[in-house]
Every structure is written in structure tokens, then in C-alpha cells.
Assembly symmetry: C2
Homo-oligomer: 82 residues x 2
């Protein structure tokens, strides 16, 4: 099974990387860009894991390793597999 | 309109961050994890941009600013908006 996990700052947390990208885009003339938030994406292959197991395993991995729950939120989806 | 752009290394490019995360997960006992690839995600608000305009604007921004086309690939989707 392959899953995708998106980790990004909570909305209440400043995102200096995203701000820098927004400023760069404005400098290049892309004035239509009004907001940029940057985060991380993880694509993980899981072997011998059922959909039911993934529903507890993936949030656990995300909270323990991939995201800092104090300042970050995560979202995940199954890309392929049972 | 809000769009999401995923940027990750091409499959042929080594991903040391992903490898490090995989090793950390194995150390913590998550042996079911067989592969981890890490990338970046950008969520961008575009003002006054039609769906048709976005279909040329977003790939242009991605190639020029968000991704390094030599070693990275990108994928994007519209999250909300016309």
C-alpha cells in the first residue's frame, strides 16, 4: 500500500518559507499570488498492511515522527492498495 | 482559487531525507515501511485567475520557482475555485 502524508504549519503559525516564496513570485511579476503556504509531503510504501491497520498506523507515524503536533497539522490519503 | 503543488525528486534521484526518515521509522519498530520519499508541498491562493489561466500559470511558476526541473518533478491540482 502506498500512502501520501501532507504536513504543514497550523494556520495560526507563521510560515516564513511560504512568505519568501510569495515575495519571490511577486518580484517575478506574479501579482495574482495572494498567499503561499509551504509544507512537506511524504510518500510511504507499507508492506503487508491492511487499510484498517493503516488507519491507525499512519496517524501514529505522522504524530511521532513526521510532524510536530505543537505547530504542524497533517493530512493523509491512500494512493494505492487495498 | 486555491491550488496545491507537490514537488518531489524524480524517481531516478536519490532522496537522502526520505532514506533518513525510513531508517528512523525502522529504528522505532515500524518495519512495514519499505520506502519513503520526501518532497515539498505548496498551497497557493491565486486572485482573479480563471481555471484556464491557472493551467498555464501554475506549471510556469512550478518550473521557474518551486521546482528544479533537472532533478525534481511536480504535480498540481485545484483545491477550490472555478
Amino acid at each position: 500500500m502506498k500512502v501520501r502524508i501532507l504536513v504543514s504549519f497550523k494556520d495560526s503559525v507563521l510560515d516564513p518559507q511560504g512568505q519568501t516564496v510569495k515575495n519571490a513570485l511577486h518580484t517575478l511579476g506574479y501579482g495574482a499570488v495572494s498567499e503561499v503556504r509551504q509544507g512537506k509531503v511524504f510518500e510511504i510504501d507499507l508492506e503487508g498492511v491492511s487499510r484498517k491497520d493503516a488507519e491507525s498506523l499512519v496517524p501514529e507515524i505522522s504524530r511521532r515522527v513526521l510532524a510536530n503536533p505543537i505547530i504542524e497539522k497533517f493530512d493523509w490519503e491512500i494512493l494505492k492498495g487495498r
